[in-house]
């Protein structure tokens, strides 16, 4: 691994502000990452979330790969968890990710075009 020095700088900057964040603060985004999800495009979807979160410095938003959600035909599936609210999106692509970030995560309104239900299937 090269440029470990850059990593040290990132650490030092993060150490200044880390104390304010708890593990379950903010928004959690889960991306279904089983075979059916991966075949349907879950990796570029997850990658897009990572890049948008980094670009917009959304420090209280985390994105995590999860196993099979059980509905292969409508993958990629993404769940957004905020407090007790759970929104499940299906057939998500990179364009949908942009909308979920701006309209839902930042704007507070779920993107109904992709929602399959407010509660778990």
């Amino acid at each position: 691994m090269k440029s470990l020095d850059d990593l040290k700088k990132i650490r030092e900057a993060a150490q200044q502000k880390v104390s304010m964040r708890g593990k379950n603060d903010g928004t959690r985004i889960l991306v279904g990452m089983a075979t059916c999800g991966i075949s349907a495009g879950a990796r570029p979807v997850m990658n897009k979330f990572v890049e948008e979160i980094a670009k917009r410095e959304l420090n209280t938003v985390t994105v995590t790969p999860v196993g099979c959600i059980g509905e292969c035909a409508i993958e990629p599936i993404v769940e957004v968890l905020q407090g007790d609210d759970r929104t499940t999106y299906c057939k998500v692509d990179e364009k949908a990710v942009e909308r979920i970030i701006t309209e839902h995560i930042i704007g507070g309104k779920p993107v109904t075009d992709y929602v399959i239900g407010k509660y778990r299937l």
Partner: protein, 183 residues
Amino acid sequence: MNELSLHILDIVQNSIRANASLVQIIVNEQKASNIYTVTIIDNGHGMNAQTLSNVSDPFYTSRKTRKVGMGVSLYKMACELTEGSFTIESEENVGTKVIAAFTNDHIDRAPLGEIEETLCILVLNDKDIDVLYKHTIDTSEYVFDTREVKQVLEGIPLNNYEVIMWIKNNIKDGINTLEEERK
């Protein structure tokens, strides 16, 4: 799945489900012998002989959510298309090793693709599993190891987005350097 790195992402999900704490991914491209090997080793709960003998059967899965398990069969097919050889070794409570040896210059050998995206997603796993990635081209080698990264980070989590972007760029640069050295 048209990239080896997508298969790798998928196969490692099995390791994660098997409660591994370390996953090693070893890519070895050898021009002289014309073999491109991808080895994935985990220290998860492994498989008993019965499961091991069923693992490449698409109608076998230990999943409760559906009746087929496709991951291993698809990967095996991708390997055998290149007249390669595919082996799984596993021992209960020790771990599992999946070795896919592709014919390097075979027209059906899928490219590795965006391995840095695959590794970032693996790093973001929920269970804090360590990942070692070693990529060799002929005699040059690139190594990425989350244990080393964690040591530098002194407790700052890997899912910090600046850290993730650093990891992604590090892997991309590392492999590009290998490819330039080959020329």
